[in-house]
């Protein structure tokens, strides 16, 4: 129970059932299973509309063995805020006397884009809850449309690799920092390929009072166009190329939790995925260079900030 040193320490009990409808090779169930294990005791899950919701709760069935609610696309954080408030009242006024974890899940569309207002409000108000963004870097549930989380150059159905505009022209929004600078007690990035790091961050988050924001990188074979068996391999490369750095900010102190001293070439990451294939064409080298520059600047920024006693 609690923190783990190896995978065998992860509890056996499952709170999420098989028979769900996630695509083969999807990375989303890893975060579901691990959250439900790492957050000990009573918990309530709030789910924004998206892949997680539709693949796990096709009426009259549900894969969830814990209380779960879905209301709409953009309001998971607000719904969670109401649940948190209700359990405060149940404890204070009606003697319920149980600590209940309130955990909201939203995809990148539901978090970076349409749900950012409700998320910001809930973080600012200081509700004691966890918001987890499972980021597959596009609107996968509606058929792979670009979002504020889609990386530069990636092809989606609304940022296709066209002859004039090859993929998404804009870079990715830094939602972790946007969340962090609500001055909340804990934010962290999570990647399934680094399971011990991820699991222990979940345990830590579960023990912190106040709003927690966790950003989970979830590989998507359908939307990113890669072989289903490569899910974890790609997730690992995302960290090893510094494309998706693993760090946490605890009460304003930033710490890189998986240091990548010698990053692998970005091309190793790009070439496995159909969404980036056009970038390997020499005429698109400038986009790869821009991506590399963005990755380098981000890494240097994290390194510098990790030297400080606190960043907020």
């Amino acid at each position: 129970m609690g923190f783990i040193r190896r995978l065998n320490d992860i509890p056996r009990e499952e709170y999420f059932a098989p028979g769900h409808a996630f695509c083969a090779g999807c990375g989303i169930t890893s975060i579901i299973r691990m959250v439900l294990k790492a957050y000990e005791g009573p918990k309530i899950i709030v789910n924004a509309t998206g892949c997680m919701e539709v693949a796990s709760t096709l009426y009259p069935r549900t894969a969830w063995k814990v209380p779960w609610i879905h209301s709409a696309f953009e309001n998971a954080a607000a719904t969670a805020a109401g649940i948190e408030a209700a359990f405060k009242i149940l404890n204070r006024k009606y003697g319920y006397n149980k600590k209940v974890h309130v955990i909201a899940f939203g995809g990148d569309g539901g978090t970076f884009d349409i749900g950012i207002q409700a998320l910001s409000g809930a973080l600012e108000r200081g509700h004691n809850f966890t918001y987890i963004c499972y980021d597959n870097e596009a609107y996968m549930n509606t058929g792979i449309q670009r979002s504020g989380a889609t990386p530069m150059g990636a092809a989606t159905t609304t940022s296709p690799a066209g002859r004039v505009i090859p993929g998404k022209p804009q870079g990715k929004k830094d939602l972790v920092f946007i969340a962090a600078f609500h001055k909340i007690p804990y934010v962290a990035t999570l990647n399934p390929a680094f399971m011990q790091d991820m699991y222990n961050k979940l345990v830590k988050a579960s023990q912190i009072e106040g709003p927690k924001f966790l950003h989970y990188y979830t590989p998507c074979p359908t939307g990113w166009r890669f072989d289903t068996s490569h899910s974890i391999k790609i997730a690992r490369l995302a960290v090893q190329t510094r494309f998706f750095p693993l760090y946490e900010i605890e009460r304003g102190k930033l710490r890189i939790t998986v240091d990548i001293k010698k990053p692998k070439p970005l091309e190793e990451y790009l070439k496995l995925q159909g969404r980036f294939r056009h970038l390997l064409d020499p005429k698109n080298k400038h986009i790869v260079d821009a991506l590399k520059e963005e990755i380098e600047r981000n890494w240097q920024r994290l390194k510098m900030l990790s030297q400080l006693d606190f960043i907020y």
Binding site: A17, G19, H20, T62, T228, S229, S231
Partner: protein
């Protein structure tokens, strides 16, 4: 999955699903094109396949050895790809 479709009179109030985890009855193994085959003699009980299987199709046994549940396995191949001792091989379904 042979669900008996219920009439509106038989549904639980408030549109809830009141049987937690009842997807367990749904066979998703029919999605599979490739089939993972485990060689138990090579298994080092590291649980990587158990952790990463998106379909909860790897059963974790008492001693942390594992067993593949083909009722759920969609054949993604993550287990074979990630297995450090190559104890799992993907073979074509039906061959």
């Amino acid at each position: 999955m042979a669900d008996d479709l219920k009439t509106w009179r038989e549904l639980p109030v408030a549109m809830i699903v009141d049987q937690p985890g009842n997807t367990v009855e749904v066979e998703t193994g029919t999605w599979r094109a490739l089939r993972p085959v485990l060689d138990p003699s090579k298994c080092i009980k590291c649980l990587i396949c158990w952790v990463y299987c998106p379909d909860l199709a790897i059963e974790r046994l008492e001693d942390d050895s594992v067993k593949i549940n083909y009722y759920y396995c969609k054949g993604c191949g993550i287990c074979a790809e990630e297995c450090p001792t190559k104890a799992i091989q993907m073979v074509e379904e039906g061959v």
